[in-house]
């Protein structure tokens, strides 16, 4: 049998298998369809074969980056979660996926990348902490610019002010979309029958980050939590299809929270401390040399003469202490 396809995704957090909506959609669909994928979770988009995440490398070495393309590819490999749907249900899936892309996706971009508090305290911090060293300085900012551009073009406005007006408008659309989804779901477990389909994967991918992230400005989250069937839909899928991630987060939280402080869980803490000390030392030395407080000549003379003195003083003191 051929080697399995390889899927590259953003790492997970907040009890989710991945933090990005697109990655969640693909992961959920692969789980629903039972597709055997070799999963690489990473936090460096430059190491993905497509240059962005998610990406699927097929065993013919093609690379797919759009979630819909990946799902179509999996479907062609006979991993089809929509097999049981009637033609009309398939049509409904397509319609509701469009509804989310038009009404919910802009609000998601706004809430994670534009709302200043959320962006600075959660999104940028998460990406900056998880990306490897030189990338973490500029990639989060670049990602934000891409998302802003996307939001601007989706709305077709010339200029985009992050004001109350825009926020209200986007959140109103998103809240309406959530209500419609909630009405469509009703009291059933999944959107169509007893087994999940691609629509369930899309809904899960869009809603789970809203539900699980800990944003300072959580208006969307509050609204989602008030729609009980939708929020239990998300937690159900997490429990049934991603039990490992859910447990990891619940075991991690008590361990990480007592440490408390905001800056305590920086990865590679020792190395960073060492590097910054080195940089500070270098700066002090070069300042001293440049201003002439220490000259090379002087240092050389001292190097020849002083060490014996120092040693004698040091040994005297030690003797004294003893």
């Amino acid at each position: 049998m051929a080697a399995p396809d390889e899927l590259f995704c953003w790492e997970g957090d907040w009890g989710l298998p991945s933090v990005s909506t697109d990655c969640l959609v693909v992961l959920a669909y692969a789980q629903f369809a039972g597709a055997p994928l070799k999963l690489h979770k990473m936090s460096n988009p430059w190491r993905s074969p497509g240059g962005s995440l998610p990406a699927l490398r097929t065993n013919q070495k093609d690379t797919l980056t759009r979630p819909s393309d990946i799902i179509i590819h999996l479907r062609k490999q006979k991993y089809n979660a929509d097999y049981d749907l009637s033609a009309k249900e398939g049509a409904d899936s397509l319609a509701f996926i469009s509804l989310m892309e038009e009404k919910l996706a802009p609000a998601l971009i706004y809430t994670f990348w534009v709302e200043p508090k959320n962006y600075v305290e959660v999104t940028r911090r998460w990406y900056a902490e998880h990306m490897p060293f030189p990338l973490n300085f500029f990639l989060p900012g670049r990602m934000q610019r891409q998302q802003l551009e996307k939001l601007r073009l989706l709305r077709g406005d010339e200029l985009l002010e992050s004001g109350d007006e825009l926020e209200k408008e986007l959140y109103r659309d998103a809240a309406e979309c959530l209500n419609l989804l909630s009405q469509r779901l009703g009291s059933s477990k999944f959107f169509f029958g007893d087994s999940p389909s691609s629509l369930d994967a899309y809904v899960f991918g869009h809603l789970a980050p809203i539900l699980k992230s800990k944003l300072p400005n959580g208006k969307l989250q509050q609204h989602l939590k008030s729609l009980e069937n939708l929020s239990s839909f998300c937690t159900n899928i997490l429990l049934l299809y991603f039990p490992r991630d859910d447990r990891e987060s619940s075991s991690q939280q008590p361990a990480s929270q007592p440490e408390g402080g905001d800056f305590d869980h920086v990865p590679n803490k020792r190395r960073k401390q060492f590097l910054s000390a080195l940089a500070a030392l270098g700066a002090m030395l070069s300042y001293a040399l440049l201003t002439g407080m220490v000259s090379i000549q002087h240092v050389q003379q001292e190097a020849l003469e002083e060490p014996p003195d120092l040693r004698t003083i040091g040994s005297h003191e030690e003797d004294g202490d003893d």
Partner: protein, 259 residues
């Protein structure tokens, strides 16, 4: 449209009845209007006719710049200006004219979802074919779009528009698609609409809704507009119930005046 303005509009709207001299603005019909604008404009006209609200179509070369949201079409009713189908539906609803009152919650959710499907796939595909297919852009879109303007300005505006649409395509992930994939998406969308319609006269039983107006606007325009290739219309023609749906709406709501 801003929220405050919207609240104001709906308040004002409720106070006044629909006037006789309401007008709908769109670009010049013969020389300028493009497929996508024609489709959205026809959708609004169909909607207003379904509601039984009289409106006079006015063609202006600078309609795009007159519109409050920069999009075609917009209506001028009394002393208010409203653009695009969604807000216009809200506006007429505030005046007491609504087509979707008879639907239950689930049906209303489905109606909204299918409307977004049309916007998301058909409208995007129309824009793609107009501006990203180089043959269509060079032969039809750029000359038509810039027809009212003198020489240096016409080129600047046409290329500016094309550049803007292409960036939008990249943002929604259609940038990497080729023409064949776009046709495939159109087929998929029509397949979904055709399944949903089935053998009913309208999408939701016997009464037309704004969804019917929107679908009619797009399909009828695609079927009756000549492009460099007839592939787009051919894709729709393979769904016979959609064709008879278009014919039915045309006969019911447009026949008397078009003759």
């Amino acid at each position: 449209m801003s929220l405050a303005a919207e609240a104001f509009v709906s308040q004002m709207a409720a106070a006044e009845p629909w006037p006789e001299n309401a007008s709908l603005y769109q670009p010049l019909k013969e020389d300028q209007i493009l497929l996508s604008d024609c489709a959205t404009s026809l959708a609004v006209q169909a909607y207003l006719r379904m509601c039984g609200l009289p409106v006079q179509v006015v063609c202006r070369a600078n309609a795009e710049y007159m519109s409050p949201s920069g999009k075609i079409p917009f209506i001028h009713v009394g002393n208010q200006v409203v653009s695009e189908l969604g807000p216009i539906v809200q506006f007429t609803k505030a005046k007491g004219h609504s087509l979707s009152d008879g639907l239950d919650d689930v049906q209303r959710a489905e109606m909204k979802a299918y409307m977004e499907l049309v916007n998301n796939m058909l409208l995007t595909a129309e824009l793609y074919i107009q501006w990203c297919d180089e043959a269509t852009a060079a032969e039809i879109s750029r000359p038509r779009y810039s027809s009212p303007y003198p020489w240096p300005l016409s080129n600047i505006l046409a290329y500016q528009k094309q550049w803007e649409v292409r960036r939008k395509m990249n943002a929604v992930g259609w940038g990497g698609k080729n023409l064949e994939q776009v046709y495939e998406d159109v087929s998929q969308c029509c397949q979904a609409l055709s399944q949903r319609l089935g053998t009913q006269p309208f999408f939701f039983n016997k009464q037309p809704t704004e969804l019917d107006a929107l679908v009619f606007g797009h399909l009828f325009t695609i079927l009756t507009t000549r492009l460099t290739s007839s592939e787009l219309a051919e894709r729709i023609k393979s769904y016979s119930n959609l064709l008879s749906f278009c014919r039915r709406i045309e006969q019911t709501y447009f026949e008397d005046k078009s003759s």
